[in-house]
């Protein structure tokens, strides 16, 4: 069941194309990552979902209905450029945003209570936003995004400006919201930061989607049968089964990345290596990082175009 189904979205600003034939389907209850470098078109796409702007062409379904203004009540949006009214009291501000999202004042107060207890912010409510630290402001902004319990939560570069502790709090909250049935869409240019969190991703580059699918599938698809071995003893060398890509040595401990000459099982590989006089400390399959996949995918796309 898809919460968002976008087909062939095009968007052009005065002189440049922001989105070109984008198809994206977001499964309900999943965490979806929109990845791509700055200026790729992620924010443009998000602004179309949140109805801040409209696509020049293409269709968007929200829960099987054509996207329309009533749906904004079911979305929560944390823009990349954060902002709160600095002179306004925290409590009033949160209620104001919730009311703009269609909650009654009473309902908003009720739901706010949950977050007050959770983040222990009771003392902040009567303060002006400008009196809070940046981390506190980020939390307030996050509460403002989710207070009306949206079905779809869209977070544009959610981790920028968060310190590691607050990032972890945010991740925990996101996972909790997912458990409660919300769908979360991320956008970020720091591709490695969300690959552990996301179920699905789409890679966007220069207004075009170059790749999408479940994270695990993509990783498998792009893996290059590379392994990383950490060991002591004499350094490994290439032979008829393995090709050593590189070896690093630190304090008598070697880290070697190798690829297979022929397709063999992992057990066979370990047996083969153990023929050498070494003591294995660590062994893992080296999957490409999202960034590496991105680069490969962009190159493939370019090759495809040039061919």
């Amino acid at each position: 069941m898809m919460i968002i189904e976008a087909k062939s979205i095009n968007k052009k600003y005065q002189d440049h194309v922001a989105l070109k034939h984008i198809d994206i389907s977001i499964k309900r209850g999943s965490i979806y990552g929109l990845l791509g470098p700055n200026g790729a078109g992620k924010t443009s796409l998000i602004r179309i979902f949140t109805q801040i702007t409209q696509a020049d062409s293409g269709t968007i379904l929200f829960n099987q209905e054509t996207l329309q203004s009533k749906h904004i009540f079911e979305m929560g949006y944390l823009p990349e450029e954060r902002g709160l009214y600095k002179k306004m009291l925290v409590g009033e501000q949160l209620l104001y945003f919730a009311e703009l999202k269609g909650l009654s004042n009473k309902e908003a107060k009720l739901r706010l209570k949950y977050w007050i207890d959770k983040f222990e912010i009771k003392d902040w409510l009567g303060k002006k936003v400008e009196e809070l630290s940046k981390g506190m402001q980020q939390k307030i902004q996050f509460i403002a995004t989710v207070l009306h319990e949206p079905k779809l939560i869209i977070l544009d570069e959610p981790f920028s400006g968060f310190d590691p502790i607050n990032s972890q709090i945010l991740v925990d909250e996101i996972l909790l919201l997912k458990d409660k049935g919300a769908t979360i869409v991320f956008s970020t240019h720091r591709m490695d930061s969300v690959e552990l969190l996301c179920d699905h991703i789409a890679l966007i580059n220069k207004a075009e989607k170059i790749l999408d699918g479940p994270v695990n599938d993509i990783k498998q698809q792009y893996k290059s049968n590379q392994f990383e071995i950490i060991y002591t003893g004499s350094a490994l060398v290439s032979d008829e089964l393995i090709e050593v890509n590189y070896t690093k040595e630190k304090n008598g401990q070697h880290t070697t990345v190798l690829s297979l000459q022929n397709l063999i099982s992992t057990n066979r590989l370990v047996q083969h290596i153990l023929n050498n006089p070494i003591d294995i400390k660590g062994f893992r399959e080296k999957l490409p990082s999202m960034e590496e996949i991105f680069i490969m995918a962009v190159q493939q796309k370019n090759n495809f175009k040039n061919a």
């Binding site: 801040i52 949006y77 823009p79 450029e81 902002g83 709160l84 002179k87 104001y96």
Partner: protein, 437 residues
């Protein structure tokens, strides 16, 4: 509508609760009252501003001898002084000046000299001149055998034309100075309201842009709703402030005017000559004033004032909002403010000259039709009595005008608020305006 209401409520409450609003609202009438109180006080008691000055009168003609009245700031004493003595007398320090009156005065009054160490104030000179003039006049009257009383009566002749306008419903009395003044006050109020609160709208929009809050809001409401909510909210802030000012000024004016009246009595008592004339003129003026007020259709004037007050503010407020949306900071607004403020300044300037002098001239009629100038110009024209069709036409133009500017501003605003970076050119703003979304 609900969202516009929510937004204007927020705008209203956050602004009204600001310290600066409270201080401005309560302090400025006090300051203005104080300011005018001081001005009125000193203008009535001019002498207070001057220290007492001792002037020695050397009157060879004998006309003024012992006839000049001393007051708080000037004391006259009389003795004949020769030219050579003057310097010594002034050197002494206790004497401020020596008034030298020559022997023969009939033709050459200009020969009267006041010799001083330092330039005397205008007040001092006028005071002495006035006294000399009256004494000299009286002398000439008696020399020529003219009865003072007869002359006084002749001088009192005054003619006032009572204008009567013939209308379809019979006749109604025309306007005079008082109603013109009321119309003018209305025009100035509208002018200030548009300026003060239009700029507030613009600043508010810029604030939302620089705080980067706008995108959060725009994901919940339409840009147009945000803009209208802001404009309406600020309008209510302005109205609140104006109403409080009127109430406060009314309350304050009681003690202030009592104070002024008190000084006035002292002042008038001090006037020895022409007292009756002054009072009579005053009474006539008050009568005219009251009859003017009675004759004039105040319902129309107040109704029109409210209409132009609100529509004029909406008309300009929307434009100010568009300017705010187009720029990132206040320093960049100058270029775009010009085309908005110029017509407003232009209309208040013309209202004071052309419109008042020729309220039914073609320029005045045109200015009262164009929405840029009509709120100000119409208020000035109204007391002179203008055809009903012109009022209706002007109101229709105004209504169409503000619908148009609100629409135009909305189109610029929706793109402007999400556009950051360098200051846009007029060409770019035009592109925003025509772009689909």
């Amino acid at each position: 509508m609900h969202k516009i209401w929510l937004i204007s409520k927020r705008e209203y409450l956050t602004r009204v609760r600001k310290k600066s609003f409270i201080i401005m609202t309560f302090l400025s009438p006090v300051l203005i009252a104080l300011f005018y109180g001081i001005i009125i006080y000193f203008s009535i008691n001019k002498e207070i501003a001057d220290d007492n000055k001792h002037i020695v009168v050397s009157d060879e003609s004998g006309v003024f001898l012992n006839n000049l009245k001393s007051n708080k700031s000037i004391t006259f004493s009389y003795r004949n002084v020769t030219e050579s003595e003057i310097k010594n007398i002034l050197k002494n320090g206790s004497v401020y000046g020596v008034l030298m009156v020559p022997d023969s005065l009939s033709k050459e009054s200009s020969k009267i000299r006041l010799l001083v160490n330092e330039q005397p104030s205008l007040n001092t000179i006028t005071n002495i001149e006035n006294q000399l003039e009256i004494l000299l006049k009286n002398k000439k009257l008696s020399e020529n055998g003219i009865d003072k009383k007869i002359l006084h009566e002749i001088n009192q002749t005054s003619v006032e034309i009572n204008t009567v306008k013939l209308t379809d419903n019979g006749s109604e009395n025309g306007n005079s100075g008082v109603t013109t003044l009321i119309g003018f006050a209305g025009a100035i109020l509208i002018y200030f309201f548009i300026f003060l609160y239009g700029v507030q709208v613009m600043k508010g929009v810029i604030e939302e842009k620089t705080n980067r809050i706008v995108e959060v809001i725009i994901s919940s409401v339409k840009p147009f709703q945000l803009m209208m909510g802001k404009i309406i909210g600020i309008a209510f802030v302005g109205l609140t402030q104006f109403i409080l000012w009127i109430v406060l000024v009314a309350l304050l004016s009681i003690p202030v005017s009592a104070l002024v009246m008190n000084f006035m009595d002292v002042g008038t008592e001090a006037l020895t000559k022409g007292n009756d004339t002054l009072n009579q003129a005053k009474n006539a003026g008050v009568e005219n004033f009251l009859s003017d007020l009675g004759n004039f259709n105040f319902g129309l004037l107040i109704g029109m004032f409210i209409f132009y007050f609100i529509s004029g503010y909406l008309f300009y407020g929307a434009l100010f909002a568009a300017v705010g949306s187009a720029v990132d900071n206040e320093t960049d607004t100058q270029q775009f403010m010009m085309p908005i403020t110029m017509p407003l300044i232009f209309s208040i300037a013309l209202a004071q000259s052309v419109v008042v002098n020729s309220p039914n001239g073609s320029l005045s009629v045109w200015l009262s039709m164009i929405p840029f100038s009509s709120p100000v110009v119409m208020m000035v024209r109204l007391p002179f009595g203008i055809p009903t069709w012109q009022i209706i036409a002007s109101m229709i133009c105004m209504a169409l005008g503000f619908i148009f500017t609100v629409w135009l501003a909305g189109r610029i605003y929706r793109i402007g608020i999400l556009t950051y970076g360098k200051k846009p050119t007029y060409k770019e703003i035009w592109k925003w305006f025509i772009s689909k979304n």
